[in-house]
């Protein structure tokens, strides 16, 4: 796969963007750290990393990236959000208002599994994966509801922790904190078509 000059962006305003960058490098695509709207040009895909969703949302708004990422998406862009990224992709949250990119027909519950002492690791069954995936959940959100056009890929205790829509993917956990690159490969191959 890859290796033919495909460039994939990682939103680099705050959070664990370097971990995504390192995995993309290992998989042979060229990572691009995105801090400004113009850096979205010609990207084969965009990853919104883990971090604080309120912080990332505010910084996106200030830097003109909220609209720019929406434009990128509606011009056939592909987007994956992990944890805070999943929150930002949802169309609504159950909590106080905050800036959202809102590309997925879903209602998100922030910190749905509780505070940090309840953060956990567990194996996950994921639709389309032959073997369980190591899930690392850190103050993780979940989708309480998804609307038409969004497919559920994985659940924990009846809560949606991975889902896919049209050219968009969301995971409540952090594949970038593990050595398992299957989710990154899934995004690059199945969503971005690399």
């Amino acid at each position: 796969m890859a290796g033919n000059g495909d460039r994939v962006g990682v939103l680099a305003l705050q959070g664990d963007f370097r971990e995504h960058v390192q995995i993309l490098q290992r998989l042979g695509v060229e990572p691009v750290e995105v801090r400004r709207p113009e850096e979205l040009e010609d990207l084969a895909g965009l990853i919104i990393p883990g971090g604080e969703s309120t912080t990332i949302g505010k910084l996106m708004l200030e830097n003109g990236l909220l609209d720019a990422v929406r434009s990128y998406y509606y011009r056939n862009g592909k987007v994956w959000g992990t944890c805070a990224g999943m929150v930002l992709l949802a169309s609504a949250t159950t909590g106080p208002p905050q800036p959202l990119i809102a590309l997925m027909n879903a209602l998100v519950e922030r910190n749905g599994f509780g505070r940090q002492v309840h953060s956990f690791e567990r194996e996950l069954d994921v639709k389309g994966f032959d073997e369980p995936f190591p899930g690392v959940f850190i103050r993780a959100p979940f989708f309480e509801e998804v609307g038409p056009g969004v497919e559920v890929l994985s659940e924990v205790q009846g809560r949606i922790v991975a889902a896919a829509g049209e050219r968009v993917l969301a995971t409540a956990f952090h594949p970038e904190l593990t050595d398992d690159t299957r989710f990154h490969e899934y995004f690059l191959q199945e969503v971005c078509g690399i």
């Binding site: 705050q14 940090q116 002492v117 690791e121």
Partner: protein, 296 residues
Amino acid sequence: MAENAQSTGTFRVKSGMAQMLKGGVIMDVTSAEQAKIAEEAGAVAVMALERVPADIRAEGGVARMADPEKIAEIQAAVSIPVMAKVRIGHFVEAQVLEALEVDYIDESEVLTPADEANHINKWAFKVPFVCGATNLGEALRRIGEGAAMIRSKGEAGTGNVVEAVRHMRAITGEIRRLATLGEEELMSAAKQHGAPYELVKWVAQNGRLPVVLFTAGGIATPADAAMMMQLGADGVFVGSGIFKSGDPVKRAAAIVRATTNYKDPRAIAEASKGLGEAMVGRSVGELEERLAVRGW
């Protein structure tokens, strides 16, 4: 089929939590109102305190963990993570904070130490700990005790960045030197640093700490924060610098912006405009008491 076993309090979720804070600013707050200002400004977390370090310095007396009622009030006010401080070695204050479900505990030299020989055994807790360090050996001792995040100490409550710079340069410089040593030299290096051999070896091989490294102590301006990021910090703690300044709302947002755009001088300049008075600083030479020397 996946196994249903779920494990909490693993080192991966503790150190992973710190990864999520990277590139962000953690602000000291003493009330729910201040916590909201911090969240609104884009802080990635708040540190719930009874008094900010500048007041601890000014008022003296024994500085302890904050009142649980105050912590609960701050937790109720914001959706971002809430941290709180315990005295060095005070493991029962830590048990209390764990029971309150704070998101991170800072075993901090800013409070009056409870044990002058030992730090808390942080492996015994599900809640993660951040600890201060002035050099690499101190950082690795804390990680050996189970700390999942390190911050350079600086000199809290001074508004003077000079000690933060000294400690950050010490840590990053010592990491670079370790990376140049041969494997046979590492035991001697471990002895010199007073640090666990396995951790010294890991740092020598990887050229970094095994956990996230923030900076703290004396950061008062957007340029201070950006400089610390350029010196290698993963993120910034700001204590007295915000709520002891003339316009906390503006200054908080400006420090967040400068931390995000730390490599962009024009953005730092923009963020630095019209912030009003910075906190009144104190030169380190005139201090009656140095907090950074606390820690063993």
